[in-house]
Amino acid sequence: MGEARTVHTELPDIDNVQVVRKEELLERVAELASQGFRFITTTCVDTGEQFEVYYHFDHQLQMSHLLVAVEKDDPIPSITPIYFSAFVAENEMKDLFGVKVDGLNVDYQGRMLVSDELPSPPMRKPNTRRDGDGS
């Protein structure tokens, strides 16, 4: 559960990615913040089974990334207590993918970009994970 995969080995991949568990995410982000990293943005990738969330940081034009994999229904902690500006990116993930983010400082309730009439998050893919009984 919650274990991140690193399967993109022989393919072109992003350098300098650190896979972290969501429990230790805030700790690692605080570490980067104390080293003077600038928060760039988050990217959520829906693999079908789970969400892979990248957190991009920059220091002196060198990028550094954290990768968290979460189950689709599990919440991830918000990093807004550390980086205030992350609320835009996190609200966007919430809008488009329906990622549950805990502890947002400015919460638009998943309606920052999309309108109230939209029934479900537009970029979320159907869950392809087979549960134990195959249902």
Partner: protein, 359 residues
């Protein structure tokens, strides 16, 4: 202790031609809290990028932003080139610099004009936009269109320049520089302009870095960070020094953009004079697979493209982080404490482009 009022600023406002709403809590004339409301022009381009074939996405991403469309095309092409392991020819890289920088020039001129308009200085606004029109004509003559020039393609560029066109563009640039030299002192030394901008919306270097500001906003706060320093396309060969101001107020941002206009003219000139001979396109083969991140410097700041392919014609994910998205949080620190009359100027000073923010 004054009366608290909540005032909606935008999405339709005479001085801010962008569909963003700022919900401003006012105490008399002073601003207490600001909450931006986005979502008026969300178009779902990231989703459309997954549905399209990857070569067609080039035309799609150019429509993310009208003003910096060449930069978006360049960033997307560079990201897919990374996945396909294609190296564009040297001449293509130089031509990319030429067109991207011309786009930066007309974007900065547009902004300087809008700044003059925000003070109500209409004649200056028209004068600056007349200079911008020369750049637009240069773009149309060389690339075929005024704004959405569609010159970038995966593996290179789609159009070549003839000697004649190079000469003509250089002449236009010289004329442009001459007129800018005549007009910029009016913007930067005028008593009224200084009164409206100096000391307004101050952002220190620490604050700017913490809030993740990018582009001219960051450079006006004294942080020398410009992605052209990393030397993508032909910036490495051309040599590049970022322009930095230290005051961090609206005036410093205007100065950064004004100085970048001249820097841009210089870069285009050097790129055109040193244009190497050769092909302009390396044919890409195969379908993209893997993940790549590309960052380039758009006129408004750092533009990030995250592209994930899965070996088919369609991309698995295309993420676009536009510069204004990073600059919006700075408003939430710059505006509180300011006076209501300064809201248009401070908001404009980050050069907001809401259509690209929401994609």
């Amino acid at each position: 202790m004054g009366v608290k009022t909540i005032l909606p600023f935008g999405p339709q406002h005479p001085v801010l031609p962008e569909p963003i709403q700022l919900r401003i809590t006012l105490e008399d004339e002073n601003i207490g809290q600001v909450l931006p409301a986005l979502g008026y022009v969300h178009r779902g381009i990231e989703k459309a990028g997954e549905k399209n074939d990857y070569p067609l996405n080039v035309y799609l991403v150019e429509r993310v932003c009208g003003i910096c469309s060449a930069t978006h095309g360049l960033a997307y092409c560079m990201a897919v080139e990374k996945l396909l392991a294609v190296e564009p020819p040297l001449r293509a890289n130089y031509l990319r610099v030429v067109w991207t920088e011309l786009h930066r020039l007309h974007s900065h001129l547009l902004w300087l004009g809008l700044l003059a308009d925000a003070f109500g200085f209409e004649s200056l606004f028209m004068q600056i936009w007349r200079i911008r029109e020369m750049v637009m004509d240069a773009l149309e003559k060389t690339a075929g269109n005024r704004v959405i020039i569609s010159v970038n393609t995966i593996g290179g560029v789609r159009r070549d320049l003839t000697e004649e066109q190079i000469e003509e563009t250089l002449r236009t640039l010289a004329e442009c520089e001459k007129q800018l030299n005549a007009i910029l002192p009016v913007i930067l030394e005028d008593y009224t302009v200084r009164k409206r901008t100096v000391g307004k919306g101050v952002l220190t270097a620490d604050q700017a870095l913490r809030l993740g500001a990018v582009g001219p906003v960051l450079r006006a706060s004294g942080v020398a960070q410009d992605l052209r320093m990393t030397g993508y396309a032909a910036y490495g060969e051309l040599g590049f020094e970022p322009i930095v101001e230290t005051a961090g107020d609206c005036y410093a941002r205007a100065v950064v953009r004004a100085r970048e206009c001249f820097q841009t003219i210089d870069l285009v000139r050097r790129a055109l004079q040193n244009l190497p001979e050769g092909d302009i396109l390396t044919k890409p083969r195969g379908n993209p697979n893997g993940r790549a991140i590309v960052r380039v410097e758009a006129p408004r700041g750092e533009l990030l493209y995250f592209v994930a392919g899965n070996g088919t014609k369609n991309l698995e994910r295309m993420r676009v982080r536009t510069p204004t998205l990073a600059n919006v949080p700075t408003l939430l620190e710059m505006l509180p404490g300011a006076e209501f009359a300064d809201v248009p100027v401070i908001t404009l000073s980050i050069d907001p482009c809401i259509s690209c923010t929401e994609r």
